[in-house]
Symmetry: C2
DNA sequence: CCCTATGTTCAATGTTTATTGAACTATCAA
DNA sequence: TTGATAGTTCAATAAACATTGAACATAGGG
């Protein structure tokens, strides 16, 4: 098992892959949730997304989100901490992430986005 | 054969479907080309995209672009005229189309976008 | 050292996707 | 009516995708 998962460089981030990643409701919800908590803590653990799907299915989606450059995974003990690659995304495709996030927010009732009540739960790493 | 192809209403346009549609390089190129010529004429025929793929494959992609609400097809004789549903897209997801188009423009060298020389060809319907 | 918690990897499954060419439909023009 | 033009529909195919559960790996706590 590779110590640190693979991440593309900023320049390797491709528009079609990013759009394809965001087009899956579960992945969109993951990105949305990461963005939501960004002000609280920029990182979330895999288990914080357990409302969205099972563990192995989430691992699959996390890998896709990493591969397309949308998020970065940091290994810390038995936990993996994920965060959005905001700066890289903004450098490659200015405004894209924010527009997609606000579009998702607008349609929050139609998408399987997790309720904002997660904000109550303080992270205690 | 239905006289007029099916189009979703503005409210039926869904974010994941739109992003998925835009994530395919050929469809992104179609949308890009439609946007490019918008100042010349807001409509293009199927055959104007023949550089991107074969006829039947294009018909498949056109159907997807219609189904997700990105473009509208008008039947006129033996021709079909396509145009972007800019207003509807803007109403549903403000800024999304423009950001995707400018992101595509930034990566024009990496994408199979048709060269701008098509602008020379005046439409003579 | 075991036990548990966290997450990944693998194999299997069924679905959707993109692509091709052939057949088809419809319109226009001679 | 004949022929050409413009595009759709269909069937077949191969690849990619999402989902599941089981097996595995790793780290931390008693």
């Amino acid at each position: 098992m590779s110590r640190t998962p693979h991440h593309p460089t900023r320049e390797q981030i491709e528009l079609p892959m990013v759009l394809d990643c965001l087009s899956d409701p579960i992945r969109l919800a993951i990105v949305y949730q990461l963005a939501q908590q960004e002000r609280v803590s920029s990182e979330l653990r895999c288990s914080d997304f357990s409302a969205l799907s099972g563990k192995s299915n989430l691992a699959y989606h996390f890998a896709k989100l990493r591969d397309c450059g949308l998020m970065r995974t940091r290994v810390a003990g038995t936990n993996r901490f994920m965060r959005l690659r905001r700066e890289d995304l903004e450098a490659r495709f200015p405004g894209l992430l924010d527009v997609v996030l606000s579009s998702a927010a607008k349609d929050a009732d139609r998408l399987p986005l997790v309720s904002g009540c997660e904000l109550v739960e303080v992270d205690r790493k």
